[in-house]
């Protein structure tokens, strides 16, 4: 069970997407697990053959616990023989309930409603959600929902406490004239159908990514008392959930995306986050965080770094403000961009260089395409 966040201790394996004997490729989704942050798809990072699934669906697994054995073609048979022994004893311990075929949604519901699965005759071999609900004595939805919400609150609490206890933050802010970028975007969107429209946040993410290519010291991790700069840029995008809590899934390999790709990937990521369908890599690979509270009218965001990342970039609302240009005073659309950096890894100078690059890109939005 991979750790899907610094604060995660365990998760429930919901469903396997592979069976024993299947060949798997790097990046393939092999399972779904349920954490306090919703259902996450687990990717595999090696090629090989699924030798053995060690865990049956609905089992709670602590972080680090083996879920399956995947044998690469070069691996010796002897090694797998050894692990087999261990798994056989595990298998013998399975209760009858765990052997019943049941859809993950039905199993979850059965748990919530306290339904005894032994009392249901599977339909075409599999117990369906509707069957579970049909035999449920009464509906008790609230406790489970409250529990999941509580889990997320605790996860955020743990990560943020650790951040404030361990990371000496420094904060920088700058006001950016967004009029050129917004005018450019308006021109661009005029030629596009409503489905292909680009939101300002996509432009901002793109500007962050390009600035990080030039100031890479803010993109990576603080681990084992040293800075590890990441070549790949996987910005974690803070996405608030209606009803409370937030998730910051990674926009994987944003360095390879153009503006349209960034918008499409963001749109897809937000949709999957809100329906709680994220992949394991998206929960673990973030190299920096971007948070945008502008939609709520906030002017400046002073972020808390998500450990072990090195920085968090904050965007406030884009507002009409008085702006001096040369010796004239005019009205421009202005946004406050902020940066919180880990002072163990970088100094204010690096942060300042980054904000200046960001500003420069937003003054020449055609370079962000």
């Amino acid at each position: 069970m991979p750790s899907l966040g610094a604060d995660m201790e365990s998760a429930v394996l919901m469903e396997w997407h592979v069976k024993e004997g299947d060949a798997v490729k790097k990046g393939q989704i092999i399972a779904e697990v349920e954490t306090s942050k919703g259902v996450i798809e687990i990717e595999v990072f090696e090629e090989g053959i699924v030798e053995k699934l060690l865990v049956t669906p609905e089992t709670e697994c602590s972080v680090g616990m083996p879920l399956a054995i995947i044998v690469s073609s070069s691996e010796s048979i002897a090694q797998t023989e050894e692990t087999k022994h261990e798994t056989i004893t595990k298998e013998q311990n399975l209760s009858h309930e765990e052997r019943i075929k049941i859809s993950p949604a039905a199993h979850k519901r059965a748990d919530e409603l306290g339904v005894d699965l032994n009392k249901i005759t599977p339909l075409e071999g599999v117990i369906q959600l509707s069957q579970v609900e049909a035999v449920a004595p009464t509906k008790v939805e609230a406790p489970k929902h409250a529990e999941a919400k509580e889990g997320m609150r605790q996860a955020i609490a743990a990560a943020m406490s650790r951040s404030n206890a361990e990371i000496p933050h420094y904060y920088l802010a700058t006001s950016i004239n967004m009029t050129p970028a917004l005018e450019y975007l308006q021109e661009l969107n005029r030629e596009r159908s409503i489905k292909e429209r680009i939101l300002p946040i996509a432009l901002l993410i793109r500007a962050v990514v390009l600035s990080l290519k030039e100031v890479p010291q803010l993109n990576g991790f603080w681990q084992n008392s040293e800075m590890q700069i990441s070549k790949e840029i996987h910005p974690g995008i803070a996405i608030a959930l209606r009803g409370g809590g937030l998730i910051t899934p990674a926009l994987i390999d944003a360095q390879n995306m153009n503006l349209s790709d960034t918008m499409n990937a963001l749109s897809e990521l937000i949709t999957r986050t809100r329906s709680r369908k994220l992949r394991s890599g998206e929960m673990t690979k973030q190299t920096i965080t971007i948070t945008n509270l502008g939609d709520l009218g906030v002017e400046s965001v002073y972020g808390v770094i998500y450990p072990p990342q090195l920085a968090i970039v904050g965007f406030g609302a884009i507002m009409e403000k008085p702006w001096a240009e040369g010796d004239a005073l005019c009205v421009r659309k202005v946004m406050r961009a902020t940066l919180a950096g880990d002072h163990r890894a970088t100094d204010g100078r690096i942060g300042a260089l980054f904000l200046e690059k960001l500003n420069q890109y937003l003054q020449k939005p055609e370079e962000l395409l």
């Binding site: 969107n189 409503i194 429209r197 946040i201 608030a240 749109s267 937000i270 939609d295 709520l296 009218g297």
Partner: protein
């Protein structure tokens, strides 16, 4: 399509992106984005869905004219 039908269609789309909102929270003249916490992403989703249903595409320059339930209803009624 009557104004009432358009209004119902908009409310349906709002509830689609924000299922936790109850219908009486949607006031005719409250800003949809601010008072219902609908972000720019969800707002675009609502407009995209309305475009699919009515064929009317709201250009960005008209966003100020569709900020509330009442004004959005009026906008679509006038452009149908």
């Amino acid at each position: 399509m009557t104004k009432d039908e358009i209004k119902r269609m908009i409310i349906e789309q709002i509830l689609e992106v924000a299922p936790d909102i109850s219908v009486d929270e949607i006031t005719p003249d409250g800003s949809l984005q601010r008072s219902l916490e609908i972000d720019s992403f969800d707002f675009l989703k609502i407009l995209t869905a309305m475009h699919e249903k009515t064929g009317v595409e709201v250009p960005e320059s008209d966003y100020a004219k569709v900020a509330t339930l009442e004004s959005m209803t009026g906008y679509f009624a006038a452009h149908l």
